[in-house]
Symmetry: C2
Subunit: 356 residues, 2 copies
């Protein structure tokens, strides 16, 4: 035959018949808090076990209007920051007895194409990471009562909930750190130009430098992509005014930039060039790189994300909520050190200037 037949599973009616009770009794046995005598319950459980019964979540969803599924949209996973987030999300959602429907591997940074798919499953919530949703669709979600959280990104109108870290303060902290370390010339390898993280990090950095009397920052753009970052690094290091301090908008690019610097240009780090990255992701900690980097607290960001979702699902109130968390500048070997301001925390060096 052409269309395969998945053997139908055991149903609550079959269990009811086997146990000699009503189908409602079976349902109640598997509904936490439902009114059922322990005698009936025991009988049902025994029959269920014997028949290999498992409640059909699909049927339950249809009637409760709750799928217990959260859609996670993550366009790409090359930057290890995102797999880290995904793993934490898996854990956090499982703890709430929710499930994770993943949309990944499409090239657009726009989620609209996957939106139809995701809505058809009547997901209870949507998490958008490394991607964005048009405002019409965001509005449609609000109308449908489906909470949406932007992860590590905000939109201009603030109409959608978001979880981010203080990117602007992060950029400023890096400016302080460079200047405290005695650097005089400054560069920036930018991420995606229309992303809020890039905009904020760059702004904080440039403003911070300006406040300290440095008005010139040479900029190339790496678009948060490895090949683009390599190209940007080649341009940056070929310039006559090559800076001695370089902030790279995330660690994913910083790794590529360091490789180009050392192996293509013979630049010594940190003797000839100081590099600071962002995210504090895995490879930043590897000895070969040892990147001084602003951290983003993935675990707490995920907790905040899931919290917003759970609150809004429970209350039915979809009001945009913005959680902004703090990061720290973890000091390693990729940048020259300032004379003061470095403190130890949990065995790691972080930069905490007094005024902070």
């Amino acid at each position: 035959m052409d269309i395969g037949v998945k053997k139908p599973g055991v149903t609550s009616s079959q269990v009811a018949e086997h146990a000699g009770v009503s189908q409602s009794a079976v349902s109640r046995t598997f509904t936490p808090g439902a009114s059922i005598s322990s005698k009936t319950r025991t009988k049902v459980l025994a029959s269920a076990k014997q028949l290999g019964y498992r409640p059909n979540a699909i049927a339950r969803s249809l009637i409760t209007n709750r799928s217990r599924i959260i859609a996670v949209v993550m366009a790409y996973l090359e930057n290890l920051f995102y797999p880290d987030v995904l793993e934490e999300l898996g854990r956090a959602l499982a703890a709430e007895n929710y499930h994770l429907l993943l949309f990944t591997g499409f090239m657009d940074r726009d989620s609209d194409p996957v939106f139809d798919q995701l809505m058809q499953y009547r997901v209870d919530g949507i998490i958008l990471a490394s991607t964005s949703l048009s405002s019409e669709l965001s509005e449609e979600c609000a109308t449908a009562g489906i909470p949406v959280v932007l992860f590590n990104r905000t939109t201009e109108r603030d109409a959608v909930s978001s979880v981010t870290t203080r990117n602007k303060e992060g950029g400023r902290r890096i400016a302080d750190f460079f200047v405290a370390g005695g650097h005089k010339t400054f560069g920036y390898i930018a991420g995606l130009e229309n992303s809020s993280t890039n905009r904020d990090r760059q702004q904080g950095y440039v403003e911070g430098l300006a406040a300290l009397g440095f008005d010139t920052v040479v900029i190339e753009t790496g678009n948060y992509s490895r090949p683009d970052a390599e190209a940007a690094a080649r341009k940056m290091f070929s310039r006559a005014d090559r800076p001695e301090a370089l902030f790279v908008a995330n660690d994913h690019m910083a790794v590529a930039v360091m490789d180009v610097a050392r192996h293509e240009f013979g630049i010594r780090i940190p003797e000839d060039l100081s590099i600071v990255g962002y995210d504090d992701v895995g490879p930043a900690k590897w000895t070969s790189y040892g990147i001084t980097s602003m951290s983003q607290p993935v675990k707490r960001m995920v907790e905040a994300t899931v919290e917003i979702l759970m609150d809004q699902i429970a209350s039915g109130e979809i009001e945009a909520e913005h959680r902004i968390l703090n990061g720290d500048l973890f000091v390693r070997t990729s940048a020259r050190l300032p004379a003061a301001g470095i403190v130890m925390r949990d065995g790691q060096q972080i930069y905490r200037p007094k005024e902070a």
Copy 2:
């Protein structure tokens, strides 16, 4: 109120009323290949658009007994190989109009705990990567008519479908490569001891060396984990009989091993020590590492996985199928080169001894 109300979506009945047709007509409009006049279809589509109707996939699943959801179980994502796989899976499943329910972030390497959850959603198929399922549960899937594919792993009894590469041949190739490069002493940093990949890679390597007259291989175990690999490297490099050629069971560990070698022991690579890894994953290609590594063709592995699943879903025949693909030894800078056998392919160096 305590329990939030997700506004019910637009239903096919509402669209039918609006369009002045039967609910069946609406359903047929959204069922590819259903018998419907283009006139009715147009009317329905117009009303659907106006009302913002989207078919409810949950209701459809209930009646078709097909969820169009594939469960992917991936215990952890630190090793970039797995995010790569996930991204390809996202693409490949979307192309078949299937969706990906991800289970990740649990510490066990055993999938049994998530199995109940996954069965409740009546998934149409299951992909297990970096994790395994007890044979009882595998059998239960077969009974229920749900295809399961082990990704990058096999079980002893071969009862479950799998997609792997020729790990044993890979180990043997690495042995050939080392010996051709003039190495005389050999080591191995093992992965998880009960995993099929580790067993096969190790066996091929040890047998290959033996066939060439080298009977001694010093072994430490890194369990495919970064900290364990670092510890294993420290033990390995502290040995009096430290080998000059070291096969590390995957690149994820090889990166850690190289960092320990260079920065803790001052070992020069490849002058003092040759290292070869496995997977040919991102960091292997980064200049700082440049790991010579056996590749696993992720894209083709994913295609094979999805193909098996789609075939078995369509036919309803759950017969274990084993796809075994070839990898190549990509030659970079982490190991001393043999005088012959290195050829170019697509601008990359690979090792292809004549007899192969």
